[in-house]
């Protein structure tokens, strides 16, 4: 009974972490789908989101709801700005140039935050005040409940938006064929901006949930969840939206089970080992499609 309980507990932990990875992975996969690039600065948007929340709540004393909305706006605007300033001029450049630029933007954001907030970790208590719930002998924390609800709602909303709305349809069209979409009257630049805005907004939400769980701010705090979410996106199939959700959740559960039953130190190694295995066995990922280039 104890073992069953402990496994259930680890599964719920994994689901919580995994759903945060999934939110971040969605940003990677959407941007990849539309701009055919890996935005390695995406993880640092999480960090900016966490610091922004700290500034709005901790320093300015705003109401948490307003602070959360402002945080999402800050990250969306940042995402659009990064695309316009750093990536748009390179749209016809080699993929390597874009990749290096993305890494450069990532360092820029980390170092700006280091400059402003210094290297000392800043403690910042969770803004989530929800009591924990007891289910049988399981104790599910308030943060876990909020995380699961928020991520589920975000993912359903995103799926509906992509599949049912006019703008979502335009995004799918642009990700398939920019030229043909333009001929339909779609403004490709606007669509790319919208994609970065949505991806960054999801990263902001992930950042808020992440900081509520870990309660410590660091300029480099976005790097590890960012890179793990990237692994999740590749695992699910980069470019696939359901793939990113699935990949994130699988990764979170594997990480949580590894930490509990194999080794805390090895958990990250196992997660990245998965990336290696996926790339070897099924490079297109679980739900990804292998694109056959037609000549």
């Amino acid at each position: 009974m104890d073992l069953v309980n402990s496994i259930l507990e680890q599964l719920i932990n994994g689901l919580r972490t995994g759903s945060i990875y999934a939110l971040i992975a969605l940003g990677y996969t959407m941007v990849y789908g539309i701009a055919k690039m890996i935005n390695f600065a995406h993880g640092d948007i999480i960090m900016v989101g966490a610091y922004a929340l700290y500034v709005f709540v901790g320093l300015l004393g705003l109401h948490p709801v307003i602070a959360v909305l402002l945080t999402i706006v800050v990250c969306s605007v940042l995402g659009i700005t990064i695309e316009k300033v750093a990536y748009k001029p390179l749209r016809n450049a080699t993929p390597l140039a874009v990749l290096i630029t993305a890494i450069g933007v990532s360092y820029l954001l980390q170092n700006l935050s280091l400059l402003i907030f210094k290297a000392t970790p800043i403690p910042f208590g969770s803004i989530i005040r929800v009591p924990s719930v007891k289910v049988g002998s399981l104790n599910i924390s308030g943060i876990t409940i909020v995380t699961l609800v928020v991520t589920t709602v975000s993912m359903i909303a995103l799926t509906l938006f992509i599949n049912k709305s006019k703008a979502g349809r335009a995004m799918r069209a642009v990700s398939e064929d920019k030229g043909a979409a333009e001929l339909m009257g779609v403004n490709v630049n606007q669509t790319i901006s919208l994609t970065f805005a949505i991806g960054s907004a999801l990263a902001a939400v992930a950042g808020i949930l992440f900081i509520s769980q870990y309660e410590t701010l660091l300029p480099t705090m976005g790097a590890l969840p960012g890179i793990k979410a990237f692994v999740a996106a590749v695992l699910g199939g980069i470019g696939s939206i359901p793939g990113a959700m699935l990949g994130g959740i699988i990764l979170g559960i594997i990480e949580s089970l590894s930490k509990a039953y194999i080794s805390t130190q090895l958990a990250d190694a196992i997660v990245f080992g998965i990336l290696v295995i996926v790339l070897l066995v099924k490079p297109s990922g679980l739900l990804g499609k292998l694109k056959i280039e037609k000549v």
Binding site: K166, R169, A170, R172, A173, E176, D177, G179, A180, A181, E182, L183, M184, G185, V186, N187, V188
Partner: protein
């Protein structure tokens, strides 16, 4: 006044001059064919007219207004639709979604639904397959979808790039019949084709393109009887 007027168009690909000062006109109601061998620059001309490629110099006017620098996504709102080479339907969208994409710049839902009905009437096959992903259609069906999608913008002029490419003879005849129908419905047609015989058989006038320049232009019926055309393009 010509509906579409292209004057001294020059287009470069890097250092290579692909289009070397091309001028032509399309009048309202006409079917104009642009014929020539592979690599003559036919596709480049269409892509430049609809703004996908910027010319080095020259002037493109549509209904008296200069559109040389108008971005591609604004061209369709002026009443010009482009059926691109290779069809380029959105393979991961359903047939219905592809058609709706064609009406992207239109607002009135009732009018859009009316256009969908018209397209389904013209292409009953598309209605049968409306919930299927476009990538699962045959080449001929994809060509119909690409044409239907272009018609969804309710264009005054439709630019068609190699609509018969890669299709079986039965489909080729069907596609050309549809082009005539579209024209009879009041839409002006600018047709780019390698299948010169077919193109000349339905066109009013035609321009013959060779390595980036227009070498001949006349009534289609006159060109059909031209000895050099017969030899070079009609295989007689």
């Amino acid at each position: 006044m010509a509906m579409l007027k292209v004057t001294d168009l020059i287009v470069n690909y890097g250092v290579i001059q692909a289009i070397k000062g091309v001028s032509f006109e399309v009048n309202e109601g006409e079917i104009i064919a642009l014929i020539g061998a592979n690599g003559a620059g036919k596709t480049t001309i269409l892509q430049t007219v609809t703004g996908l490629i910027s010319p080095k110099s020259g002037k493109i006017e549509f209904e008296g207004k200069e559109i040389t620098k108008t971005p591609a996504h604004k061209i369709v709102t002026l009443g010009m639709a482009h059926v691109p080479e290779g069809r380029r339907v959105f393979a991961d969208l359903t047939v219905y979604e592809n058609l709706i994409m064609g009406a992207y710049t239109r607002k009135d839902k009732n009018e859009i639904n009316e256009s969908i009905r018209e397209v389904y009437q013209r292409f009953p096959r598309l209605e049968e397959r409306k919930n299927q992903l476009a990538g699962t259609l045959s080449g001929g069906e994809q060509q119909m979808l690409a044409m239907g999608r272009a018609l969804m913008s309710h264009p005054k002029i439709i630019l068609m790039d190699e609509p018969s490419m890669g299709l079986s003879p039965i489909f080729v005849n069907e596609i050309f019949k549809i082009i005539q129908d579209v024209s009879a419905g009041g839409t002006t047609v600018l047709l780019v084709e390698q299948n010169a015989k077919k193109a000349l058989s339905i066109a009013d006038r035609a321009y013959v393109l060779e390595t980036g320049s227009i070498v001949l232009d006349d009534e289609a019926s006159v060109l059909m009887e031209d000895d050099s055309i017969k030899k070079a393009y009609l295989g007689e």
